[in-house]
Amino acid sequence: LDEPLLFEQSQPGRIGYSLPDADVPPALPDIELLRDEITDFPELSEVDVIRHYTRLSTWNYGVDSGFYPLGSCTMKYNPKVNEVAARLPGFAEIHPQTPEALNQGALELMYRLERALAEVSGFPAICLQPAAGAQGELAGMLMIRAWHEARGNQRTKVIIPDTAHGTNPATSALCGYEVVPVTSTGILSLDAVAAVMSDEVAALMITNPNTLGLFEANIRAICELVHEQGGLVYCDGANLNALMGISRPGDLGIDVMHFNLHKTFSTPHGGGGPGAGPVGIAEKLIPFLPLPVITKEGDSYHFDYQRPQSIGRVKSFYGHFGILVRAYSYILAMGGEGLKKATELAVLNANYIRARLEGAYALPYKERSLHEVVFSEEKLGGGCHTLDVAKRLIDYGFHPPTIYFPLVVAGALMIEPTETESKQMIDDFCDAMLAIAAEARQDPDTLKQAPTRARRRRLDEATAARKPKLRWRSE
């Protein structure tokens, strides 16, 4: 049964709200400033709204529905106590324009979270403000550029490996940099970097472990090389879940890294957001931190705005505080040992999947991978492609992995199980993957027709893009 749009269910005069009386004499702006009623805006009762969204929710697949091995997204379980924490009135109902002295608990929480992230990452300073990973990248790259500029150094280029997330080049462009691609064969070689490194290069952006799940084993040497030639190194921290308690980016010579709290620190992905993208930085970049910076003096906490070299603000107020609370709650639950254990089990799970599937699916990179494993469509029978495997997995009750990324692998299937999945769940998934590989050979049409057990069959995405219909309009 389909669910009509809000607008299609609307009835003139139906209401879903209850409002207090104004309790003062009525007043209205001048008539020429007044708008007419909002055309076609919905009119619904409370129960209409409840049923609409309750039904829509059942059309969605989340981590709570089942296994969600979306590579590079670290879809781990989102603990429910974190949700309770973020909703405590002393966190959810505090106004950002309140004087600092009256919200010391919020400042203390952020300060403590910064210290915890610093310990996990090895960076001396952390900025919690960025709204998401991509904004963390922006803040980080702006700091890099500000550092260069402060030294009178007008570099113009950023080196980015071909395995990188698309945000890396996009962010570089936003900072006015030109992108120099570098080819990575599994991991980045020192030679490859040396070949493109020059005094025009402001920074190297690297993801570690990279999007193939491989640790960049040459990272120390690469950092040294870049530093020697006056550049800085940015690390995309999307894959930090593979390193907690094992290796700290800040110890390796990296100058800036963003965190994805919604990946590594279990805050919900929210159907696309909000996340939070704090940045960890090396000592030398501290003067350039976004405004404001949280400081501790004695037992009290403050926002410091007196930072003339700061790159400024990247958003209003102080970051996604509600998300920061959740991440802090997670760190409290896990402790240092728990975080390390999470990393170990995430890597164990990925390697177990690799071991179980590598006979049936082609594995383009043979190195020992960490938290995720990338297969290619190469060995698939019956003319089937990665897309077909993905859609068929839906019929088996699983969310598909990330597909066709990284770009360096043809028809990539990028599987990241995370540590919150049990062996039993992973076995069920591997069994399904093996069954699908067999189906591809024996009955490829089953794959090509998939999914058949979802609310929808495959969509006509081409028409959606060719004739975009981006909003509802009454006929």
Partner: protein, 449 residues
Amino acid sequence: MRYLPHTDADIKQMLATIGVAATEALFSGIPADSRLTHPMELPPGLAESDILRELRRLAAKNAQIADWSSFLGGGAYNHFIPAVVDHLVSRSEFYTAYTPYQPEISQGTLQGIFEFQTMICQLTGMDMANASMYDGASACAEAVLLAVRAAKKRSRVLLSAALHPHYRQTIATYCRYLDIELITIDTSNGVTALEQVEPLLDERVAALVVGYPNYFGCIEDLSALAAAAHSADARLITAVAEPLALALYKSPGELGADIVVGEGQSFGLPLSYGGPGIGFFAVRNKDMRLLPGRLVGETVDLDGKRSFVLTLATREQHIRREKATSNICSNQGMCALMVSIYLALHGKQGLRQLAEINYARSHWLREQIANLDGFALPFDAPVFNEFVVSCPEPVAALKKRLEQQKILAGVAIGRDYPGLESGLLICTTEQNSRQQMEQLVAALAGGTQ
């Protein structure tokens, strides 16, 4: 550990299948010189009850708004959130999902966003809206980038001084290394000084950015500003920090804005110390392919059933990389859902009625304060639910004095507006009872006696 399902037996079997003796061996790809050799210095994991005890300790040190009479606004608004919003957004099929890459099992998120996009269009009077941005400030910065990109050779952008300071600062950060020249336009009587705008409008100007309402709570004359901007082929970008005003005042779209961005927190998101909020971003059809952010479009599936899907991805970073319209690769999905639920609940009549309550209360309060000895209204431009008063005593001292009575009197605007050191920005929503307002008036008066 309750989040980690592995039993010892599981681990043993898995290691055997992999063919290694211990998990340690799985990290063999990490050189010794890159290893952390000591345990992280973090406290041991806490029981769930202890986590909540610790967090309640911290929460108790904050000024939870229900314990105060708060007249704080200035970009974050204390509106009542119906219980339905949290109930629905707590359905974990919504919040534990990610970006709907697999539309067949993500129609819930997708239809929700499609409806969000539609309601943003309806409110702003624009043609199309994206799936949301991080917040109003960054959406505004992205709007500036869009305008510059669209205008090609033009690189000058005029920012109203009355645009929210955080928005101006964020724009400055985003434009820092992009050869964009930002020029601040002064205000006159609380609104952007049109007479300053006009002489600056030439073929170097890509856009003019104004708030609506602006930071002083004033309603700009968008028609005139739009006419001026358009006369020089520049875009008018309108930033809305208090979108409830749009239920009462003419929409920016109707008045000629080319891009309407803003902050949606007023619509069902908790204050949460300023985040997460949600940026909205609406444009005219002509700018469709320049839009940053996610977009959901309607299509059909193989059976011809109406369906929704992420579309126009060729604008985005995962396809276009350094040529993308933005580096943004997510939206504020959960927040967009909350906004949609809030708007659907209030609907056409409720939103208007709510806006009228906000208007009536703030105007009543404004008049009361204006009648107090020593207080004055520096501006007489129309306002919605917040307004600036100039105070007869130093604002910092006044605020402190009122805090003793559990009143958060408003936002001091002097730090951001030299010359307006006596200005206090006071906001009144449906959450401020008449009794609270009377208490504020009495407290303000108390200092002058």
